[in-house]
Subunit: 404 residues, 2 copies
Amino acid sequence: MTREEALALDAADPLAPLRQRFVLPEGVIYLDGNSLGALPRDTPAALADAAGRQWGDRLIRSWNEGWIDAPQRIGAAIAPLIGAAPTEVIVGDSTSANLFKLLVAALRLDPKRRTIVSERGNFPTDLHIAEGAIACVEGATLNAVPRASVVEALGEDTAVLLLTHVHYKTGERFDMAALTAAAREAGALVLWDLSHSTGAVEIDLTGADADLAVGCTYKYVNGGPGAPAFLYVAERWQDRLASPLSGWMGHAEPFAFADAYTPAPGMTRWLAGTPPILAMTALESGLSLWRDLDRAALWAKSATLFDILATAGDALGLDCITPRDPAARGSHISFRHPHAHAITQALIARGVIGDFRDPDVLRLGLTPLYLSHDEVWRAGEILGEVITTNAWTNPRFAQRLVVT
Amino acid sequence: MTREEALALDAADPLAPLRQRFVLPEGVIYLDGNSLGALPRDTPAALADAAGRQWGDRLIRSWNEGWIDAPQRIGAAIAPLIGAAPTEVIVGDSTSANLFKLLVAALRLDPKRRTIVSERGNFPTDLHIAEGAIACVEGATLNAVPRASVVEALGEDTAVLLLTHVHYKTGERFDMAALTAAAREAGALVLWDLSHSTGAVEIDLTGADADLAVGCTYKYVNGGPGAPAFLYVAERWQDRLASPLSGWMGHAEPFAFADAYTPAPGMTRWLAGTPPILAMTALESGLSLWRDLDRAALWAKSATLFDILATAGDALGLDCITPRDPAARGSHISFRHPHAHAITQALIARGVIGDFRDPDVLRLGLTPLYLSHDEVWRAGEILGEVITTNAWTNPRFAQRLVVT
């Protein structure tokens, strides 16, 4: 592809005006929206209102003026992005905490089924939290197997199949319907971690008849650094599962101040502490961009952006580890290279911000909400320059950062 | 006390200028800082910087420019308020989640000690979470006893004594040193919930030789609605306890992306998910007001504010359930009355914002950081008007709100 062709794609792009709804720094091509989504232009004003008017002026009264329902209201706004009913999603705590709640609950359903099956090399917190969850249920175990073996690992003792829909490193996407059906056939539940797929690909939890899900909102949803995560429980399970993190906000009557815990009906029982209103405000602002959005156009643009960088990588002889089939991946592209860390740093020094994943992966996020075809094309050119001139061999790019 | 005397106290009050560092609405006397602290004047600008510059302009790079260390840095800022070393406190998650982490960890220390002893009528989330924690450790039980019996309930099977330092309803304060010593003598740990005492009274965890603590930061610390909570572990326990919520941010090397969980050294192991940066920004701003503050003057002013309302209540024949001895209480005053809810609503209608606690408690928070003696005196006058004219009998004050 030539630059003229990329510019022509931008000229014809119905999504191009959306870029104006984000704040993006000059001189930067931001290919890390898969790690931290960009700042929506309206979010600072939403935060200023939440702080100045709601907190500063209305003070405690704001709990009765929209705050107390925020977890349910924002959950309902996430629902269309994941193919769920509005009453099947709630927002609060971190992805890690929500994984813990659902895994422990699922392990307690049936004493004969006490094994979590998951993938080796899954996003670390999924496996770490699974370790924490099995320690909380007598006889529970974790069986982490190679990606290709997850279905054959399912058995009569499987409580729950824990999978990340889109792999954080390779970008590979599981077939949600097929894997959910395999879990069902084995008599197990499935728990989908949608952190790398929410806002990146079309998701249909209802169509797949999935049981449980969690996900992060600070990547493609643009909810802000460390934004609250979401939690999904299919309606058929809502009365049968309860949270081990039985905090007062998940109580049926939190303001009756009873000693004994009684879980609230519906999704509210998954709340624990007081909702973080400022963080939720930024998330709600980010989600407002997804209303009335042509998601099919977004996924199509993601595929085109991918092709631009995949073609550039091919020309450079790079080892692309992300599937070429759009239906088999998320919305990022990853290259394996022994000097991936230095290459990432050399790109950042040239204004192309991607990230590095240990030990050898350069990861570039493709966020069609705010990226143009032209800047992705230019990123490919700069990648070419870094590779062909060995720019990454500069010693200053060898230094490892705290967060890579 | 006459109004002139109250105004004279304000004129001589060395803390009076601090009020200018808060945003407070016109026409309101805010006696609910024990539930949601007021907005510090600098916080909106701190939030605007976190959103606009750190997130919007620096994007992912901000993780290496102050974000990743925020839980430890803000924990260190809380340390002086609770008499802890800076390396003994970390910020993150909610009070409920932090209670869960520490209770499960404490229950796992010794298989012969599997009982949590706590107080009936403790703040609900403490008992609710204790229920959740015992379900995660084989053989664990919860023994909630009347307040006067907590010491005699300690025994050879006690793992941890879970107490809230200042009672959310009555304002009664436990003798931290004495109760900690009693737990020690019984061979048990103590876990202090400091939610209603942090920033309200002087706390000396080190002096009391306490083991564990958690606390809320959206009350007297003014961190914002649903601000992240803190967690304290005495240094001697830091290597011996581990979090059941074993998320990636508590890993020794989170960016090595290993499958197996290895807890980080020090307090970092108590982190789980990605830190909520926007919420932490507001908290850090609120904490900045506590630097170089004459805390002794603050506690003395709290006592004077209490006396103003206690005297007003006495004159009205109200049943004050908060101890008269400043060393035996927190920084709020509570009156028991069969029509406390309607009285609370009648006060709010007159611009005096306190709160109601089921079933019959009117609770008024006394926050010397931003309240003047005169406005507390005027609140006493308005309380008198509501009581003596039976203003609370207006049917519109019978309506129960969602959050009371």
